[in-house]
Amino acid sequence: MKRLIIPGTLVALILLAALAAPFLGLPDPVRQDIAHRLAGPLEGSPLGRDEFGRDVLSRLVWGARTSLGVAFASALIAGIIGTAFGLIGGWFRGLGELLTVRSMDVILCFPPVLLALLVVTLMGPGAGTLILVLSVLYLPGFARVTYAEVLSARSHDYVEAVRALGAPAPRILLRTVLPNVAGPVLVQLSLAVASAVVLESGLSFLGLGVVPPAPSWGLMIRGARATMEQAPMLLFWPCAVLTLTILAMNLLCDALRDAVDPRTAGTRSRLRAVDRLLPGLLPMAKPAPGTVLSVRGLTVEIDTPRGPIRPVQDVSFDVGAGETLAIVGESGSGKSVSATALMGLLPPVARVAAGEAWLDGTELLRLPEEQMRRLRGGPMAMVFQDPMSSLNPVHRAGDQVAEAILAHRRVPRAEAWKQAEALFRHVGIADPERRLRAFPHEMSGGMKQRVMIAMALANRPKLLICDEPTTALDVTVQAQILDLLAELRRETGTAIVFITHSLGVVAEIADRVAVMYAGQVVEQGSVAEVFHNPLHPYTRALLAAVPEGDAPPAGIPGIVPPPHAFPEGCRFAPRCRHAEPRCSAGPLALEEAEPGRDVRCVRWRELARRGAEVPA
């Protein structure tokens, strides 16, 4: 909204000057005075006189009246007729659409200036001809915008509801649809006015628009061209005024468009702050031998307009060779952010604020980008959630897999393709020679995810991070992909971090599980122990929420709080039926309940003593 003020004021001032031209006490813009031909600033003529001795300032102001008059008249005519056409076409579809919207598109086949010249040939130059031509030129824009809005408005529930109530079409159009298209039409209107000013001045400049001696900016530039050697300022003024007017209008259009359609408004990301002071202050224990990945105290910070938030805080876990660790939690618990942080793929607004992550003796979180790049797709690889959008649509599947090989090993291209074929066979893609040459859109979702897995396995990674790799797939395909991953782990001994929100998937694939809630790990241990004897009330609630047999699943009241509203103490306390005042007293640490078993709850001992007497 703030962006509207400056261009809005400027446009308003220009409009005001144009409207008030007769009342400003300016000299007659067409009165010639050959004695003062090309005179400099005179009394009563601060900008001097033109080649016929006419007052330049007066002509500029009256010129605005001509230009804007033509522009507004044509934009309004086009707006009214075009909007009506769009409404009719969008509402009745079929023949109405063909006649009102589609037929308009033909106008777009002509370069605008040429269509205008054609009509000028027939009708002769003049403001009337200009208005006619310009309004025809802008019709399709209005018709299209309104048409699109009507189509989307039609599908809205409230329009459907009014229709179902039996309201007649014209009334629905006027009362429910029109207010919705007002925004886009307004934007279109300002675009048309700005563009009409350009075209009018251009045609007048060619001597085929406004007829002299009427003042017009285009005509003034045309006239001043002949005398540009003696009086360059004569050329400068109309150029400056014209450019400034169009600039103000364009800026107003952009601001309007952003105000009407928030999607296009760019939120400018702040530059990365240089605050890497905290990490490294707390020394950590060396990871146990046999551990492939060891994460300690991982904390991710994101700058937002409301201040920094921490969607991931103090997350720690270990994964051993050939082991699968599942990270489970609801949406917004920070699972995916943790994974992207480990891969060094955080978006620019996010950064690792604290923590360490060791992959085979290399600390990942503070590694320079070039070394990180060598690790990515090599010793550590990742499979993403949505295979539909994760493959590049314009490259062949084989190219995309071969690319992963070539990024890490110096082999000939043909060799990389041969290896890609072997990988395809390995991940169970039938007819690999043909599939290598296929584009992503020619494959099914499950097949694409197999390609993604083949890509991730291309350089025999020690660690494979899978971020909900089956969520976007059909149930039967999900099972196939899970089987494939389990089989691959057995064969290659790769350590897997498997991110999921499904406990069923955890039970099927994982050895150990870390339960995350609101950016923290609240409990971790072996799958068998955690499932059989959950220590944290949240884990218990999650397990109870899984439908089992005929018993109805118990839901968890409330929702995961957003990162800027994380509670001070235990983050689950507001939703926990065992909460006490001391739960919210202050931040909680992850406590070791027994070796390999951690929990973040002040009451876990009492609750465990009471046993599983209450399910959740």
Partner: protein, 316 residues
């Protein structure tokens, strides 16, 4: 392949529509077209002259007959003769079209060469100094009409600094360096609007592409930043830019008329403007059809390029 044939078919149909509309314009204006063409200001034209013009334009024949003759003429490449000097319209176009094409090509090349790298760089360093300056310059360039840029270029570089010629034309075969010097300013003037539009589109498109999942995949593979940029970001960002390029060729072709006038470049615009002023209808129709046909052809080429870049288009 089928897709290509269908796309060519659409272009032919559009060309026919364009021709029909041009034909109909003459008959859709209220009143007698011949009278209209001859009237200047408020004076009534001489009835004998009107009758003669009606005869020459074939307005006495039935409408369908005229339409058929018009289309047949187009198919044979016969665009009629000028009302002023009886010079065949096609000969005039054949002489001047190459010069206009050269100007368009030079302008487009300059715009693409400036806008694509600048837009990509601005997107990669979004919010940085270059991005802010370039975005501001683009907004300014979009606001200055093409004839203002041309006129100011002449004023500053030719009149005041005297480093460039004010305009004119010398055939390439006669004096290549002089030809290119004379080409430079009009080509820059034509490129100004297109480069601003392309800069904005490239910047937006690269930003969009950067946030895509497949770019994350490419980075997760461990590709070098350069390779991610070229093969995954820019390659995918190019398709929308191409579409915009095609759509804005209309504005560019219209701008050519103004630029040729400003710089005395003897392309199609000289006879066009002369003919509009003299109400030489066949000449105007011939040139308008030629440039509109060029516009359709450019868009056809853009769409075919688009298909070459994006396999999904070929499939649909």
């Amino acid at each position: 392949m089928l897709w290509v044939l269908r796309r060519i078919g659409i272009s032919v149909a559009l060309a026919w529509l364009v021709a029909t509309i041009v034909f109909m314009t003459l008959h859709m204006v209220p009143g007698d077209p011949a009278e209209l063409l001859l009237s200047t200001g408020g004076t009534m034209p001489d009835p004998a002259t009107v009758a003669e013009l009606r005869e020459r334009l074939g307005l006495e024949r039935p409408l369908l007959n005229q339409y058929g003759a018009f289309l047949m003429g187009l198919a044979r490449g016969d665009l009629g003769v000028s009302l002023i000097d009886e010079y065949p319209v096609l000969d005039e176009i054949a002489l001047r079209l190459p010069r206009t094409l050269e100007l368009i090509l030079a302008g487009t090349l300059i715009a693409v060469a400036v806008a694509l790298p600048a837009g990509t760089y601005a997107a990669l360093h979004r919010g940085g100094l270059f991005d802010r300056i370039a975005s501001g310059v683009a907004a300014l360039l979009l606001a200055v009409p093409v004839f203002v840029v041309g006129t100011l270029l002449v004023l500053v570089l030719a009149q005041m600094l005297r480093v460039m010629p004010a305009g004119g034309y010398v055939p390439f075969a006669e004096d290549p360096p002089r030809h290119l010097t004379l080409l430079a300013l009009p080509a820059i003037a034509i490129a100004k609007g297109l480069s601003a539009v392309l800069f904005r589109m490239t910047r937006a498109s690269v930003l969009d592409s950067l946030s895509r999942d497949y770019v994350r995949t490419a980075r997760a593979k461990g590709l070098t930043a350069r390779r991610v940029l070229v093969r995954h970001v820019v390659r995918n960002a190019l398709t929308p830019v191409l579409t915009v390029l095609g759509l804005h060729m209309g504005t560019l072709l219209g701008g050519t008329v103004l630029v040729e006038y400003v710089f005395n470049w003897p392309g199609l615009s000289t006879p066009l403007l002369r003919a509009v002023e003299a109400r030489d209808y066949p000449m105007v129709v011939g040139i308008v059809l030629t440039i509109s046909g060029l516009f359709l052809l450019i868009n056809l080429i853009m769409d075919l390029l688009y298909a070459a870049l994006d396999p999904r288009v070929r499939a649909s």
